[in-house]
């Protein structure tokens, strides 16, 4: 029960923190007053709630609602396997990394459904395009996570944390965290990996969304950013491990750090066209994830 409350609190706080960090980074880069940006998420949310949620002509109403709702649920499910302290996880299972991998893969389905449900061309293009980019990005994540599981000799997230008591995986497997962060950008539709909700498609899968529907999709993306950051902090930065502060505090701090890195990349790094990214994914990043796996295997055999 305590872990469940912790998950819900972390999700809520993460949505607020992610929205604020985004607003501050956006203002700083755009040259606007940063102080006003600190409270802008509340104003933007209130504005979205005050506007009409327009439906296109003959949308797929069920999937229009299910897509953001499932995205939120996937974030919560992914977060449920993360321990806040030894043995303190909502779903303390021996195959936690597999459950997280399933959540990652289902994000592709959810984003596609969001694009499909509007019954309009630009969202549909965004949905198809996301599938093309999202699938190889998932493969990279799988290899990297298997690499992180090798020192623990377990697919349990708790065991992966405990295996980092001497050395965290970010140091032990230097390619792992950078590659995993790319997946984070992809499953949260951000910056250089935003191929589903991109500006060239006037917002892509949510181009036709307005009002509360738009707010729900945005909240779901921020919830996934929180879940992903917590997973990255757990698998590569030692999760709850740390001195002086209690375990949950360390996890929150490390999660916030990963979120800030992803927010910074979002606003500072350009996105390449999808065809070029697809080439890089298959010819550069996927081979690099093999190298990471071999590295992790050799390191585990020492």
């Amino acid at each position: 029960m305590t872990a469940l409350i912790a998950v819900l609190l972390l999700l809520a706080a993460g949505i607020w923190f992610g929205a604020t960090a985004d607003a501050v980074a956006e203002a700083a880069v755009a040259g606007h007053p940063v102080r006003a940006a600190l409270t802008s998420p509340f104003r933007r949310a209130a504005l979205m709630l005050s506007r009409q949620a327009i439906a296109t002509e003959h949308p797929d109403r069920l999937n229009r609602l299910l897509a953001p709702a499932c995205y939120l649920v996937l974030a919560a499910a992914g977060l449920s396997v993360i321990p806040f302290a030894p043995g303190m996880a909502v779903t303390d299972i021996a195959t936690g990394l597999v459950l997280w991998g399933a959540c990652e893969a289902l994000v592709v389905v959810v984003v596609f459904l969001n694009g499909w449900s509007a019954n309009a061309p630009l969202p549909l293009i965004g949905g198809y395009r996301y599938v093309a980019i999202g699938l190889p990005a998932m493969l990279i994540s799988m290899f990297v996570l298997i690499g992180a599981a090798l020192p623990a000799q377990s697919l349990g997230v708790g065991a992966v944390v405990e295996s980092q008591r001497v050395l965290i995986n970010a140091v032990r497997q230097p390619l792992g965290l950078p590659l995993f962060l790319l997946l984070g950008l992809s499953i949260t539709l951000r910056g250089p990996f935003d191929y589903g909700d991109s500006a060239d498609l006037a917002g892509g899968t949510h181009a036709e969304a307005s009002g509360a529907h738009r707010l729900l999709w945005r909240a779901a993306k921020l919830a996934m950013l929180t879940a992903f950051s917590a997973m990255a902090a757990t698998v590569f930065l030692g999760g709850y491990l740390g001195t002086v502060l209690p375990g949950p505090a360390w996890l929150v701090l490390k999660t916030a750090l990963v979120m800030l890195v992803l927010v910074a990349i979002t606003h500072l790094v350009a996105r390449v066209p999808p065809a070029r990214m697809l080439t890089w994914l298959w010819t550069v990043l996927l081979p690099l994830s093999f190298v990471d796996l071999v590295w992790a295997g050799l390191e585990a055999m020492r």
Partner: protein, 345 residues
């Protein structure tokens, strides 16, 4: 009570406006975009106020009406330096020399407080074209595909440009108010997936007019940065004071550090020896330089550059040209008898 509290918080947000730019209005629109109190949005679904800046072309009037009706309630329009349509009887009017900011702020607050009535649709809630009951299922095409049942072209298989596979092709019109295209430009595109099979100019881009070189350049660089998912940097670019050398130099450095130039594939949209990356690099280098000349290409047609390109590549190619060069590259084409208007944002 809760709704009132919500409205009070929402009123303090930047005013989300969508700007329909008319001929010669790039400069004033750029100044508007520079205001921290106004958020110029790239999608009409996010806007509360539609600003019609300058006299719209006669042929753009229907597209403007459709654009208006896509805006969620509560909504308003502001006509800046032009007379409103007859159906826009409750619209805001701003003279060409006035700053619309204060009026927009008051109207925005009144809309959210429900003191000001939201504007009704300008078009009847009817299909823009009649139903054509042809085909096995009455949809107008062959089998379950194709046709233009309400004047809306449906997907139909056709050979792909690259490998000859028969894939669904889909045609629709984008523009003249699509935010990723230069103002006024409307294209009819045939797509297979996100690959452009053919393109036709439906409306040429608006001539920016004399003395708008600086505004044009920063708006174009801003649009390119948006396309490269650098929205915040794009807003900085659209607002940068072009006579402030330090600010412009700092902006150039940030653009370079973001990898924006390298993100554009080498050789993309090459014409007269310069590709999209080269043109963009030149444009960034010329920011703040009123004397810098445009690319001044030797001719050619924009529509010949687009087939075979993926959607975002095509947008990058189109926006890599200066407005003046684009006017030359995308002249008005003779419209076929059966002209179709699709998703005209």
């Amino acid at each position: 009570m809760a709704m009132k509290a919500l409205a009070r918080i929402a009123m303090r947000a930047p005013i989300p406006v969508f700007v329909a730019t008319g001929r010669g209005w790039l400069g004033p629109c750029r100044k508007l975009a520079a205001s921290a109190d106004i958020a110029v949005v790239a999608n009409i679904r996010q806007a509360a106020i539609l600003i019609v800046a300058g006299e719209p072309r006669d042929e753009d009037r229907d597209a403007l009406r459709r654009l208006h009706d896509q805006m969620p309630h509560p909504r308003a329009t502001a006509w800046w330096g032009t007379r409103p349509f007859a159906e826009a009887d409750s619209a805001l009017e701003v003279s060409a020399t006035d700053d619309p900011g204060p009026l927009l702020r008051r109207a925005f607050a009144a809309l959210l407080a429900r003191v000001r009535e939201s504007e009704p649709d300008w078009l009847p809630d009817d299909p823009p074209n009649p139903w054509r009951g042809e085909g096995d299922h009455g949809q107008g095409g062959k089998g379950m595909m194709g046709g233009t049942p309400y004047g809306r072209p449906m997907a139909m298989t056709a050979d792909d440009l690259r490998d000859g596979l028969a894939l669904d092709s889909f045609s629709f019109t984008v523009g003249p108010f699509y935010p990723s295209l230069p103002p006024g430009l409307a294209l009819e595109l045939v797509l297979q997936g996100d690959i452009i099979q053919s393109a036709r100019i439906v409306r040429p881009p608006l001539d920016p007019g004399k003395g708008a070189a600086d505004a044009c350049r920063s708006m174009i660089v801003g649009r390119m940065l948006h396309l490269l998912e650098l929205d915040a940097l794009a807003r900085r670019c659209e607002a940068v004071p072009v006579d402030d050398r330090d600010a412009v130099a700092a902006l150039r450095r940030r653009i370079g550090a973001s990898g924006a130039m390298r993100a554009i594939p080498d050789g993309l949209g090459r014409i007269a020896g310069a590709d999209a990356r080269t043109r963009f690099t030149r444009m960034v280098a010329a920011l703040g330089d009123a004397e810098a000349s445009s690319f001044a290409g030797p001719g050619g047609r924009l529509v010949d550059l687009l087939p075979g390109l993926e959607w975002s590549e095509a947008m990058l190619v189109i926006n890599s040209f200066s407005h003046r060069d684009l006017v030359a590259l995308a002249p008005r084409e003779v419209e076929p008898e059966e002209h179709r208007e699709g998703h005209g944002t």
